[in-house]
Symmetry: none
Subunit: 543 residues, 2 copies
């Protein structure tokens, strides 16, 4: 058994400080569940009272093995901890652990807070004692600790000692501005321990302003700290927090960490890391960073010719860890032999068997490359991939033909003189030689406008002759839009997720400069994939 | 005068190993010129002979103060350096410096090359001697050095010594697989120097597979190495090379580096770093990484309310360096976590002065919270923020009123029997009591359909009476769509970036379940912000 390291995740609090990031309560719940399955020890859920979605999250927070932690600040001057309403709101979240930030840099105490140093120390001491008295696990975030220690080491230590003496389980040394170098962090952590604060009570909280948050965090561990704070995918204020998605695999797979320490993350959970990282990107509708260490789609991609050929002989020649350990995959460019065998595997998964060396394989790869250059993406849109392959293989029945469509979006005043919007779609298809016209509007059952894509889908599914019955258990469950590059121009990529009564779920893609048209293409693929599954037998017989 | 550190850029060679990156010759020329203006010492231009655009680049390479360097591999077995055609192609590029890679890991020599260890050493020695005999500055990239040194330190050192004795100016220790930890790199560099290879002949080449390439590179410098290899924006195979865009400002601005070392990068060139980083993204058609250390648009963005209010008193409270030093800027975004002082600063920046304690401040914050809960985001959409604030302050003129609009998206066969799409928009507005109807379609100059939002914008801007002339220099430059949560339902958030002939650039936001409607709202804000800027004087007089 190695020494235990504790992982403290602050994706839901400091991660939400990322510019442009604002989680909904439901998203916070999903992320907390993912963090818990990963095996972190603490999940910091937000600052209750400071932010309505944070308060709401604590009300509905899922039961977790990890310790749910509320964040706040130490009590203000001029009132007791019991009578500080900001602190009371934090306590009211009712979490087992509470982390309060306080200032460890004398300059900030006198200039930002405008109080004297002893008063600040007293506020910290009283706040920690209050947490302990209320039966909570108390954590103290020593803000600006490294800058404070540089300018006034005696005071920075005094603050930490006050928190410790008042019962704090953890003193977290924060490099709030992200300017510390790993060597400084290591030296200072060593000195703090030498000054009497035990390493197993010390945490480290770093930011990535010099691109070294991971290295600083690991340096602190080697110097004796035993709790690491960070976020998934390195979300966070400015350049982000220490990236747990990089730190966790390093702790589990790389020496000296792997042989010396242990964490709450199991090898099975580690193998889910890539999926969790991408789920977070999905929630944020961000394109996953291809070059992200361990979890990026390029992290194990071998482009250089020399590398790719050596990899085929022995993967360890150009890989420091096995990608499967973090749930990622090796990529060797499509152009070489491995491309075709990967493709055959994907086709087999879709129920299409193609002999090795079949010239259709080359044509399919060519089509994929061409269309990905135009902005399509077949990684997620598995159903569209299958349809593309079937077309190249001559195994795609033509269920119906779309002759034309027309969508109208209108916004005007209603009879109550309020602006309302309404969309209407007309779709003309030819099924079994017969021309069918359908029209639908975009209002849902409550009378709210759900927009042009919704109207188009309803019109398209409404009358497809003998196929209509098959589509009755199908519905659209998600719709993702991204502006991307198609050749030299910006185009819109739409990904649609569909679901049916048999529990199937499938994704399709459409690309166009016209967002409605891109959506229509994805809708068409979605419907055709469903028809393929539910009437392929009959069609095959008919062809 | 500090000790001189040398910067070796391999954006054009190793950077091109990034998945999806393929520079044209003209792009390589632009990047080389930017690198030269930045002040790096070596520009590795590519592998002549291995790649047609690399060979072409060396033919047209611009004159640079930096030393242009050709990359290749040491001569193969069974022929002399003079008779190796692969090496000859490298020499034929005629560069003053040549960097050849050779294997330093015994396993790779025997398993990948399939030759014996002495033969490999001989090949390296002969190759370096050949470069020197031809009057070139010789560099030796010791591939897999750190893995090799771990498994067989004597052999890894033997290879380096052979290169040095044969006249190599630099021995570059490469962590090819990116798996080394900073502490390992520091220890090994120290041991290499102790074994007789001088630090001022040692370079370091790291990859970011554990998110520590910058820390590893800096650790090597502190251990005695004097050349750093890396790439702009951390481009490179897999997770990328050491990011010079992070390393350079750290070397120039942060201790212990700044006070101990000097490089060829001047303070003036450093202030151009953000521009150069974004120019590279522009060439690659990539969205710049917001959280990139030093150069990202979020690198100096302060979202947390506590941080934002302290920053207003003294920027050094939450910034480890002044953003102007790297050509970047401070951002205090609006968000539901921002306090009143943050808000007042934002209002002042927008030319709106509001006294502290003005009840309008509370109302504006309330409105922002409410609307962010509906899915709006005012972090990026600064122009929409300003309009919202002006409405609350009673400082928003009503330039015009939209009575209604109608957009049609149609897809049908054209006369050549090909499916084509076309959008048409009708907008009805009231300006100065007069009702104006405008219609536009979505085709651009080349006849391509640019979609319904484009048609709506054109129709809206087409006839706004006396305001039309003001809008003539305005255009939409970016359009971002994200599906988000508005209360309990999924809604679409659209962010539109606009630009005008006066060099202004502004962002606006719209939210609706109907994507066209969300876009229209963002368009309206964009136009109103422009009118506010260019005819506010007249309007104010009229009110």
């Amino acid at each position: 058994m190695g020494e235990r390291l504790y992982l403290y995740d602050t994706t839901l609090r400091d991660g939400q400080q990322t510019q442009g990031v604002q989680f909904s309560t439901a998203e916070k719940v999903r992320i907390a569940q993912a963090l818990d399955s990963l095996g972190v020890d603490y999940i910091e859920g937000g600052w209750p009272g400071a932010n309505p979605t944070d308060s709401a999250f604590f009300e509905v927070a899922p039961a977790t093995r990890a310790r749910l932690t509320a964040f706040g600040m130490t009590k203000r001057s001029g009132r007791s901890a019991e009578n500080d309403d900001v602190l009371a709101a934090v306590m009211n979240a009712g979490t087992g652990a509470v982390c309060l930030v306080g200032k460890a840099h004398d300059y900030h105490v006198t200039h930002a807070l405008g109080i004297d140093l002893g008063e600040n120390t007293g506020n910290i001491r009283a706040s920690m004692a209050h947490l302990v008295a209320q039966g909570r696990e108390a954590l103290f975030d020593a803000e600006h600790f490294f800058d404070g220690y540089r300018d006034n080491p005696a005071y920075a230590l005094e603050v930490c000692r006050a928190a410790l003496e008042a019962g704090a389980r953890w003193i977290v040394l924060c490099d709030t501005n992200g300017g510390a170098m790993p060597a400084d962090v290591a030296r200072v952590v060593g000195e703090v321990i030498a000054a009497g604060i035990p390493g197993d009570r010390l945490g480290i909280h770093c930011h990535n302003d010099t691109d070294q948050a991971v290295a600083c965090s690991l340096a602190a561990v080697m110097a004796g700290a035993r709790q690491i704070q960070g976020t998934l995918n390195g979300l966070g204020e400015r350049c982000g927090n220490a990236n747990l998605t990089s730190i966790i695999p390093t702790l589990l797979l790389k020496d000296p960490y792997a042989s010396r320490f242990e964490t709450g993350v199991s090898p099975e959970a580690l193998a889910d890391l890539t999926r969790i990282s991408r789920m977070l990107d999905d929630i944020l509708n961000r394109v996953p960073v291809k070059q992200a260490p361990y979890v990026g789609s390029s992290a194990f991609a071998h482009k250089a010719g020399l590398h790719a050929s050596a990899i085929l002989k022995d993967p360890s020649t150009y890989e420091h860890v096995d990608p499967a350990l973090v749930g990622n995959e090796r990529i060797i460019p499509m152009s070489n032999q491995a491309g075709q065998s990967n493709l055959r595997k994907r086709l087999t998964d879709a129920g299409l068997s193609v002999a090795p060396g079949d010239p259709a394989l080359g044509r399919i790869l060519e089509q994929i490359k061409l269309r990905e250059d135009e902005g399509y993406s077949y990684d997620t849109a598995q159903a569209s991939f299958e349809l593309l392959a079937r077309r190249e293989l001559g195994q795609m029945p033509e269920f119906f033909e779309v002759k034309r469509y027309k969508v109208t979006v209108e916004r005007r005043k209603n009879k109550y003189n309020r602006m309302v919007s309404l969309s209407e779609a007309v779709v003309v298809v030819k099924v079994d030689g017969e021309k069918l016209l359908s029209v639908s509007e975009s209002l849902d059952e409550s009378g709210s406008d759900r927009g042009p894509v919704n109207a188009l889908y309803k019109a398209l599914a409404k009358d497809l002759g003998r196929y209509s019955a098959i589509l009755s258990d199908m519905k659209l469950v998600d719709f993702k839009v991204r502006i991307t590059q198609g050749g030299t121009e910006a185009v819109t990529r739409v990904i649609i997720d569909s679901e049916d009564g048999k529990g199937r779920r499938w994704s399709t893609v459409g690309v166009s400069a016209n967002i409605v048209d891109a959506s229509f293409e994805a809708l068409l693929d979605a419907i055709q994939w469903k028809l393929l599954r539910d009437c392929a037998g009959r069609e095959a017989a008919a062809e």
